[in-house]
């Protein structure tokens, strides 16, 4: 119990930030037309590649062979997620741009 209390106390600001950003995340994408579901999913998927920052930090201070291997693998996968995700989203949206006319 005490553990839980101290955990909450030490992290209270960050917990508040998390709570607020949950609502922000929900608010920001509500009322999306279904046309955009796929690109939005793909774009959000690319953003979740932000885990690459963690991979960079870990590889940045790696000193054992295991850390090197796992770290590089994490950076590799994170980059694939980020680069592939953003490029494929752009490719989808590029096609929408081709039409001259907008919806009525």
């Amino acid at each position: 119990m005490e553990q839980a209390l101290s955990f909450f106390w030490e992290n209270r600001e960050i917990i508040l930030i998390i709570l607020l950003s949950v609502f922000l995340g929900i608010e920001v994408i509500s009322n999306v037309p279904s046309v955009l579901h796929t690109p939005l999913m793909s774009g959000a998927n690319a953003i979740s590649g932000v885990i690459i920052v963690g991979g960079i930090i870990l590889t940045g201070y790696a000193d054992s062979a295991l850390e090197w291997i796992l770290g590089i693998l994490a950076v590799l996968m994170g980059t694939l997620n980020v680069a592939g995700g953003f490029v494929v989203t752009d490719r989808m949206l590029e096609m929408f741009k081709k039409r001259k006319k907008k919806t009525k």
Binding site: S34, P39, A44, A83, K97, K98
Partner: protein, 471 residues
């Protein structure tokens, strides 16, 4: 006396500011992404935020002792990023538009895998105080990794389905084991000697759990599953951010987690099903209760069909995944233009879940340069259906199945459909009499005013174009 403010080094302040800015870019990006006019810009904003977070980390990050990332490590990281970045971009450019859902699933798997690896490495970090958060990150990241890989395999047709009530029990059991292990370790009951083994065991069970969760879910529900796993990846990234107290990771991860969850629910709503039903229901596997007396089908040849559509006033094309797999969207738009020259009013009716992902069909038709105002959403076209002379169903099946309206015993009962059966004539382009993705009998095919035109969608459309030209 005023408290003395201890300012960390300039680098750390700039780094923190960069992370905050990156998080802001992510929100703006997501906001723009949810409007058609700004969507492309939004994607670029999010990408810029990511670039900023990566560059700032490489240049400015300082460890507990205040040391930056050593040059050798930075170089290795840069080379890895350059290599994987180029590979990712090339894959994303080369893959066919029809394979888009698989690709998103694959990229999601890499993100989940990266989260799991980061969490795994964090256990050996003595400075890491929060075992609980690390474990949750490990579990969720691993599930997202293996689950997305299975989803990728299913969409690509490489992995079949396993349907069995046994799987449901297995899933509940595995979840219980995972929760037990997490509680056991985080309450400090595990002795340090067995800790590493427990962590690897947890990794293994979580990976297996991702497999057993996705395995029994029918292919038609994969978009929902990918969206859900996508939000998992976001949460896993946020957990890792929590360990590092890194705002870009926390906020980016949480936004994706929240947005992904909402998107998942929106998709479920488009199919009129609950998330629980998707996860437990094993949709495609059940023997449909709706195998009524099927009746007889009537075939039509291409030249008769061409005459019928050429002399109609109003034609509605309902494209489905069959159109996409046959890569027939270009020839389809050619037929549409030809008919318009003949004075026929042609529209496309798009079901929200047509294709393999919501909005997938819009992307495919946009690729074929079909103009946007030709695409009509289901709710708009349905009231007008009785006035339509001919409906051309191309490779669609479940989204025009009237059982969804009139057969309560059907598994898809209640799903909104395009009311093709109300049109004056229906022509169905289909490869054979095989059932749709949900493996349910479709009575539309047996109606009196329905004609079947069998064959590969692309070949059939080519024939139609030729016949229509000669008229």
């Amino acid at each position: 006396m005023l408290p003395i403010l201890i300012l960390p080094s300039t680098e750390v302040v700039v780094l923190e500011f960069s992370y905050m800015l990156a998080a802001l870019f992510f929100v703006v990006g997501l906001r723009f992404l949810s409007h058609p006019d700004t969507a492309r810009k939004g994607n670029l904003w999010a990408a810029a935020g990511m670039l900023l977070a990566i560059a700032a980390t490489l240049l400015l990050y300082r460890d507990g002792a205040g040391a930056g990332i050593p040059l050798l490590n930075a170089l290795v990281i840069l080379i890895t990023i350059a290599f994987a970045g180029a590979a990712g971009a090339i894959i994303a450019r080369k893959v066919k538009m029809t394979a888009m859902p698989q690709l998103v699933s694959f990229f999601n798997a890499t993100g989940g895998g990266a989260s799991a690896l980061v969490a795994l490495m964090e256990f050996s970090n003595p400075g890491n105080e929060s075992t609980l958060v690390t474990m949750i990150g490990l579990v969720i990241g691993s599930i997202a990794f293996s689950g997305s890989l299975i989803a990728y395999g299913k969409l690509d047709g490489k992995v079949g389905d396993i349907f069995s009530p046994f799987m449901t029990y297995l899933n509940i059991l595995m979840l219980a084991v995972i929760i037990f292990m997490v509680v056991f370790v985080s309450t400090g009951m595990a002795s340090p000697e067995i800790m590493p083994y427990l962590i690897y065991a947890l990794l293994a069970v979580s990976l297996l759990h991702g497999y057993t969760i996705v395995m029994p879910i029918g292919g038609a529900d994969m978009p929902v599953v990918i969206s859900l796993l996508n939000s998992f990846t976001g949460i896993a990234a946020a957990m890792a951010g929590f360990i590092y107290n890194n705002q870009a990771m926390i906020l980016g991860g949480i936004f994706v987690g929240a947005a992904g969850t909402i998107l998942t629910l929106l998709m479920c709503r488009a199919m009129n099903r609950s998330l629980f039903n998707v996860l437990i229901g094993s949709f495609g596997g059940q023997k449909a209760g709706a195998d009524r007396e099927a009746g007889t089908i009537k075939e039509v040849n291409a030249s008769d069909a061409a005459i019928l559509i050429s002399y109609s006033k109003k034609v509605v094309i309902i494209p489905g995944y069959g159109l996409a797999v046959a890569h027939a969207q270009h020839i389809c738009s050619e037929l549409e233009e030809l008919l318009e020259e003949k004075g026929v009013d042609v529209k496309y009716a798009i079901h929200p879940v047509a294709g393999r992902m919501p909005g997938h069909m819009n992307v495919l038709l946009a690729e074929a340069e079909v103009s946007y105002d030709k695409l009509v959403e289901m709710d708009e076209i349905n009231p007008d259906m009785p006035n339509v002379d001919v409906v051309l169903v191309i490779g669609a099946n479940d989204v025009v199945n009237p059982a969804a309206i009139d057969d309560p015993s059907s598994p898809i009962y209640g799903m909104p459909i395009i009311k093709a059966h109300e049109a004056k004539n229906v022509i169905v382009l289909k490869r054979g009499m095989g059932k749709g993705y949900a493996a349910i009998e479709n009575h539309l095919f047996y109606q009196d005013h329905t004609r079947m035109l069998f064959g590969n969608a692309k070949d059939t459309l080519q024939k139609l174009v030729m016949e229509a030209k000669n008229l």
